[in-house]
């Protein structure tokens, strides 16, 4: 395994780890919002939706600038 292949393997591995972290964080967060709303017997509030919407737009903008 030469240095280039090793480097590529490391890059793929790091990307995989980051993707998994991203998955866990995002869905844990929205699950928390939904679970809280259900526990309180109400729909997800407009404020909570606004926050999630702002985060979604920020993520899109960040990805464009990455």
């Amino acid at each position: 395994m030469n240095a280039k292949t090793t480097l590529e393997a490391i890059n793929v591995g790091i990307a995989a780890i980051q993707l998994l972290s991203n998955l866990g964080l995002d869905f844990n967060r929205v699950k928390g919002v939904i679970d809280k709303a259900r526990a309180e017997g109400r729909p997800v509030s407009q404020e909570e939706l606004d926050t999630l919407a702002n985060e979604a737009q920020a993520s899109i903008n960040n990805a464009r600038n990455a």
């Binding site: 240095a3 995989a16 993707l19 866990g24 869905f27 929205v30 699950k31 939706l49 993520s59 899109i60």
Partner: protein, 194 residues
Amino acid sequence: MNTVQQQRWANIVGVIVLLAALLGFEITDEQKGALITVFSLIGLVINQYFGERLKNEPAVVEESPLVNRQQGSAKIAALVFAMLASILAVGITTSVGCANTAIVQVQPRNMSEGLALAYSAISHIAGDVAILKQGGLITNEDANEILDELQSMYDDLGRIRALPVSEGELQLASLEAILRQLQIEILRRKGALE
């Protein structure tokens, strides 16, 4: 097949098994965690075994600078593999899970929950696009194409929120279509990683 080649193949097979366990099989997160932990341990044992064998081949190492360099690379690769396998095992077992299972687990019961999930899915996929761009695993053109689609979905969600409640069925149908598109984006992203 010499020791370096055996070790190299062991690493390749290990990485393939790990990626397959991560991306391919329809199994639960707990099963994925257990599977990857087992293979991580096997990988550590294999690498330790080959590492010991490499130490016991001084004659070849001394006679050939090329083989010496290959064995050095193989040792580094073995360490990297073992490290990544361990980190992945920890990451999988501690993470609640991948998008497919998360979306299935959190079934929206009403409009606001569907919107929350859709916004979260957009954030998630945009974050993944950024990671893939930074890792050089996706071209800028492909990334921009996905981001344009995400922006379009985001705008659609804003319009759906503004619709009157009486059009709830239409809203739900639109949301369902958007969530399906988002899931396709997740699968496409996984394909880019493979």
